[in-house]
């Protein structure tokens, strides 16, 4: 059964009339991971934020977004707020910009939980600590007391994932979560996402421009260019045998680099150029 159905979303700039995304439709089932790939300016982030209705006020949207049959676009702001966090969680690219900079991370997390749940403080701390330990943040109490700027990007991503684990939403939208991280941390955060899929049955929408990450985590892929979905399909098909020329272009863009590196590491003679 489709968990999330997006039908004919159109996004445009209210001030200039510029159409950013003419017509996008896709769907997601429970437990599935859909990756949206494309270069900057392709409209991936706009689409994600449109699902949560979090675009800037000048950005208008139309179309149907139904979560378990309920059209999110028709909800009032107040009702939408109850959906966000509880039913739909968003994990953002830049951890430091996602958290309130003036408060320790812990205080913020507890507040979020208290808005959506009626648990006691000790219950909240208990579930948060379990979640954090499972994402690899062992010094739970230390992390809770730190301010966002005192934690590294990777740690902040893990905190956001831990929050998603506790909230157990129906849909998790991850907007370029690994882009701002270095290679090693990227690897670890992607591992966390893979585990997340196993633990809770949420559907995941994973936006990225890094195809290697997509390869590891996604079931299906949507390729976007200039606001339009140019191709969609199973991950293996898209990455190995794409139909659209743009997709092939994306897949091969760092091919030369990868090949060179493989040759270096495998010890075959490296051809110049």
């Amino acid at each position: 059964m489709s968990l999330l159905e997006v039908e004919h979303i159109k996004i445009w700039d209210g001030r200039t009339g510029n159409v950013l995304i003419p017509d996008s439709s896709f769907q997601l089932s429970q437990g599935e991971c859909l990756a949206i790939v494309g270069e900057s300016g392709s409209g991936k982030s706009l689409t994600c934020k449109a699902l949560m209705r979090l675009n800037r006020p000048e950005i208008r949207q139309s179309g149907r977004i139904s979560l378990y049959g309920v059209d999110l676009a028709s909800l009032s702001d107040k009702e939408m707020r109850r959906y966000r966090g509880r039913r739909m969680c968003m994990i953002m690219q830049n951890g430091m910009r996602a958290f309130d900079p003036s408060r320790p991370v812990g205080a913020f997390l507890l507040e979020v939980l208290s808005i959506h749940y009626d648990w006691s403080r000790s219950e909240m701390i208990a579930s948060l600590s379990t979640a954090m330990i499972s994402v690899g943040l062992k010094n739970f109490s230390v992390v809770m007391e730190r301010y966002p700027h005192e934690l590294s990007g990777g740690m902040l991503q893990r905190v956001m994932i831990a929050l998603a684990i506790v909230m157990e939403p129906d849909v998790i939208i991850a907007d370029e979560p690994t882009t701002a991280l270095d290679a090693v941390t990227q690897y670890e955060v992607v591992e966390q996402f893979v585990h997340l899929r196993g633990r809770i049955g949420s559907a995941i929408v994973f936006v990225s421009h890094d195809l290697e990450v997509v390869r590891r985590i996604a079931d299906d892929v949507l390729v976007m260019k200039d606001g339009v979905i140019v191709e969609r399909g199973k991950t293996s098909k898209i990455l190995n045998d794409a139909s659209h020329s743009y997709t092939r272009f994306l897949v091969s863009s760092k091919e030369a680099l990868r090949r060179y590196y493989m040759q270096l590491m495998e010890g075959t003679d490296v051809a110049k150029g």
């Binding site: 949560m52 979090l54 966000r84 910009r97 958290f99 309130d100 979020v112």
Partner: protein, 297 residues
């Protein structure tokens, strides 16, 4: 310039600019515009009401109120502007040095500013006037002493934001000297903000000098000054209210215009609108939107 065009579209801004400019101009050309000498005493015309020769009537010493109003622009507005300029200049120099060099220099200068700022403004002014005696120059000196520390602090913050930017780092790598960087890289970016700060301080300084003159601590008689004119009209406040109205209204109009102008300037320089990419893109990395996550929750 884009800035100018948007500024001109705001009618209130244009009106206030016109008022302020006119005021300054009239004050500068006072001898040419004023119908009568401001200090000319004509006791037979004591408290005369408006007439064709004396458009606003005469005060308790028979002096022409209109002329006094016009000459009053000089101390009330023009000299205040000069004091503002001096305070802003000293503050800017110190603010730039502190914000750019940081470290110990910054710490020492800021502690100095803190000391100056810990004295309440009016008390400080009164103390200085008390020590040096009343008079225009002493009051203006007091203003400069009072305000430079405030300017230094605010300008320092602005400079700090830009001194960290990558384009400044790049200039440093190139080997451009500190003075060159401050002049060409930081000043142009910081100047608009300094203009806004200065214009917002202008209004309050005009009020202060008028206030002090009203209390009798300002400019000495017989010089014309709006606050003092109001003080002199106090005794006949109920019988001849118009003697208070003229200077009072003048103060209200000029200060309001200055404040509207300052607001308009601030709106015109709003990073989200005008320098839509320029400033926003530098500061973008520093503007944290923690509220978004809260909304997402």
């Amino acid at each position: 310039m884009k800035l100018f065009d948007r500024f001109l579209k705001d009618r209130l801004a244009v009106a206030s600019l016109a008022v302020v400019a006119a005021t300054l101009l009239i004050g500068l050309c006072a001898p040419l515009i004023a119908p009568h000498p401001p200090n000319e005493v004509n006791l037979e015309l004591r408290f005369a009401s408006a007439s064709w020769t004396y458009w606003l009537g005469n005060d308790h010493l028979g002096r022409c109120i209109l002329s006094r109003l016009i000459y009053g622009i000089r101390p009330s507005v023009l000299w205040v502007l000069a004091a503002l300029g001096a305070a802003a200049f000293f503050g800017a120099v110190l603010g730039f040095v502190a914000g750019y060099f940081r470290g110990r220099t910054d710490a020492v200068l800021m502690r100095l500013c803190d000391v100056m700022l810990s004295f309440p403004g009016y008390v400080m002014t009164l103390a200085i006037v008390g020590m040096l005696g009343a008079g225009l120059t002493n009051i203006l000196l007091a203003f400069v002493v009072m305000k430079w520390a405030w300017f230094a602090r605010v300008i320092r913050t602005t400079v700090m934001q830009y001194a960290d930017a990558d384009y400044v780092n790049y200039a440093k790598v190139l080997g451009i000297g500190h003075l060159g960087i401050m002049k060409r890289h930081i000043a142009p970016a910081a100047l608009p903000e300094i203009a806004v700060i200065a214009s917002s301080a202008f209004g309050s300084m005009i009020l202060q000098i008028s206030g002090l003159s009203f209390l009798g601590l300002g400019i000495e008689a017989p010089h014309a000054e709006w606050g003092m004119m109001m003080n002199e009209a106090r005794s006949v406040m109920f019988t001849r209210p118009e003697l208070m109205f003229a200077p009072g209204l003048a103060i209200i109009v000029v200060v309001s215009s200055v404040n509207f102008l300052s607001d308009a300037l601030q709106k015109a320089l709003d990073p989200k609108l005008v320098l839509s990419g320029k400033r926003a893109s530098i500061l973008n990395g520093k503007i944290l939107r923690g509220l978004r996550k809260k909304e997402a929750a």
